[in-house]
């Protein structure tokens, strides 16, 4: 048995969710190889080789891999699929787009979004937006699996010295062309990996009022989240959305402000270690998952919260 993990990267750095996926993959089998498909990505190959859990890096370098196109990645991965019992990657937009295409061509029923490795063929995965957990056993000879990154710790990135093997490129599709990518740049921690997340909901009443959230986020070095209602109302852009249709976050501290706690939102944050809810409606469902609930008007509570934080001698970053 050997596991082949498909790395996500931007030709300069490994994306952090790949490190979480490496941890999960190594629990399936310790003979873990990583396939890096890219262009001029030698630095990425080197950093992957230094991850102690990685036993070998397969590096496929070609200009056709300058941008990630699922069709091109699929033909690249299929060239190596024979030798592996498991093909895995992270269950974010990268892996969700890619893995089913590989699985279908191998005639494998994919296991999506696992949160626990029970054995090499049995996994735990959430269904119904996390409202039920399914223990599933794959009876295919080979397995295609995507891994929910926030359910596994990130792998150590130093100390390893895996072999890097250069491998040949595969066929290129003529039917899909990359046009452009608009990345949202921010000085704040990324929502998916931040230690603290503070989110605002419809209770904020306007985009300008999100400044109250921003001020606290600055103080706590937190990422900013939002409920779907706040995004739909146009208070904030959609890359901030936490929930079933947005991002799933598992920070040490999640602060929900003016968010009622629709099932859709809870699905994206209820695994957070500590949850704080600030809402003026004492009956709001968000309180049922909150460790600390404060029934208060957010327009009074948030400035006070900032004031109290300013009084503290030290704040963990």
């Amino acid at each position: 048995m050997s596991v082949l993990l498909i790395a996500e990267h931007n030709n300069k750095e490994v994306k952090s969710f790949t490190l979480n996926a490496i941890t999960a993959a190594s629990q399936i089998d310790q003979d873990l190889h990583v396939l890096l498909i890219g262009h001029n990505a030698d630095d990425v190959a080197k950093s992957l080789s230094e991850v102690p859990l990685v036993k070998k890096v397969l590096h496929m370098d070609n200009e056709i891999y300058e941008n990630y196109i699922a069709e091109n990645y699929t033909s690249a991965i299929l060239k190596h699929a024979d030798k592996y019992s498991h093909i895995v990657c992270s269950a974010n937009t990268f892996g969700k787009n890619l893995m089913p295409r590989i699985a279908a061509l191998l005639d494998i029923s994919q296991v999506s979004d696992i949160i626990k490795v029970i054995s090499p063929d049995t996994f735990l995965r959430p269904i119904y937006a996390g409202n039920a957990f399914a223990t599933v056993k794959s009876n295919d000879d080979k397995k295609c699996i995507t891994i929910r990154p926030t359910s596994f710790e990130a792998a150590e990135t130093t100390g390893g010295s895996a072999e890097i093997e250069k491998v040949d490129a595969a066929d290129k599709t003529e039917n899909t062309k990359f046009v452009n990518r608009e990345e949202i740049k921010s000085d704040r921690p990324e929502l998916g990996t931040a230690r603290i997340v503070i989110s605002g909901g419809r209770g904020l009443q306007s985009g300008e009022n999100f400044k109250l959230i921003t001020d606290v986020a600055d103080k706590l070095n937190a990422a900013i989240g939002a409920s779907r209602a706040a995004v739909d109302a146009g208070y904030i852009t959609n890359e901030h959305q936490v929930g079933q249709t947005g991002k799933v976050v598992v920070p040490d501290l999640y602060i929900a402000v003016g968010i009622s706690g629709a099932i859709q939102h809870l699905a994206g944050m209820k695994e957070s270690k500590v949850i704080v809810a600030i809402n003026k409606d004492g009956e709001a469902p968000i309180f049922s998952v909150a460790d600390y609930g404060l029934e208060a008007d957010l327009f009074e509570a948030l400035p006070q919260f900032l004031e109290e934080l300013n009084k503290l001698n030290t704040i963990q970053k």
Binding site: I69, E71, T93, F94, K96, N97, L98, P100, R101, A104, I108, S109, Q110, S112, D113, P126, I127, Y128, A129, N131, A132, F133, A134, T135, V136, K137, S138, N139, N175, T176, K177, V179, N180, R181, E182, E183, I184, G192, I196, L220, N238, D252, L253, K273, V274, I275, V276, F287, V289, A290, D291, Y292, L294, A301, F305, E308, L309, L312, I315, Q316
Partner: protein, 249 residues
């Protein structure tokens, strides 16, 4: 241009899911069912393209038990021209559904296939990509904007980093994000008209597709409950608890 739209009947998104005590699944008896939400966006987009004069026919297809027809009927009421219902008795895995849809694509020869990016019951997020693989067609997943060009589509995709735009030649598969559009409601006259639109029924067993499950569901259980929290009386108390009890700030 002909557009095939695949829709799925699922437990309504507002229903609080209850897990069966014997661990065999979730309760579906007497539970409100509706169309998988992003599938509504897929239908809406197809209708908008047809209204813009860029499509000639929209076919709504579903794979499911007898009642799954309701989902097709709803698609007909918002603008699909005809329906196809592939009858199955059990819940199929996305791999099997994608093989069935391939047969329908071969029969109908659409230029585009639209569907939701993910079903909110099994949360698999596989069927569209698998169908694209079987057909060797390009795939544009998680679409939040679609521009129809001559022999191609320019699709803006919702990705982790922000937005990505790709161009795919037709025929192509597009899986739709909730942000693609605002699905319309069916008007009463259109609901009445939809009753007269044809729905072709096909038994999945007649399609010659292997639909046997490959994945065993060993147990379905409730997620671990969070232990009950407390209400704090003031902001001061909250900050003190976070600092000294939870030790997270």
């Amino acid at each position: 241009m002909k557009i095939l739209v695949a829709v799925k009947r699922v437990i309504d998104y507002n229903v609080q899911i209850r897990v069966k005590e014997d661990g065999s699944g979730v309760v579906t008896d007497n539970v409100k069912m509706s169309t998988n939400p992003p599938d509504d966006n897929a239908i809406e987009e197809a209708v908008k393209i047809k209204e813009a004069g860029k499509a000639s026919e929209i076919i709504a297809v579903t794979v499911g038990e007898e009642k799954a027809q309701e989902t097709v009927r709803k698609a007909l009421a918002v603008g699909a021209d005809r329906g196809i219902h592939i009858k199955v008795d059990s819940v199929l895995e996305p791999l099997a559904v994608s093989k069935i849809l391939k047969k329908i694509v071969e029969k109908e020869n659409p230029d585009l296939v639209f569907m939701g990016k993910q079903a909110i019951d099994d949360d698999c997020n596989q069927t569209g990509q698998m169908l694209a693989a079987h057909l060797n067609w390009p795939q544009a997943t998680f679409a939040s904007k679609i521009e129809v060009k001559e022999n191609s589509l320019e699709v803006t995709r919702e990705v982790d980093e922000g937005l990505e735009t790709i161009e795919v030649n037709t025929p192509a598969i597009v899986t739709c994000d909730l942000r693609l559009n605002e699905p319309r409601y069916a008007s009463l006259p259109n609901i009445m008209k939809a009753k007269k639109k044809p729905i072709e029924q096909i038994n999945a067993s007649d399609l010659g597709v292997d639909t046997n499950p490959r994945i065993e569901h060993i147990k379905i259980e409730e997620p671990p409950k969070r232990k009950a929290g407390i209400k704090v009386a003031s902001v001061e108390e909250l900050v003190q608890k976070l600092k000294n009890e939870a030790k997270v700030i």
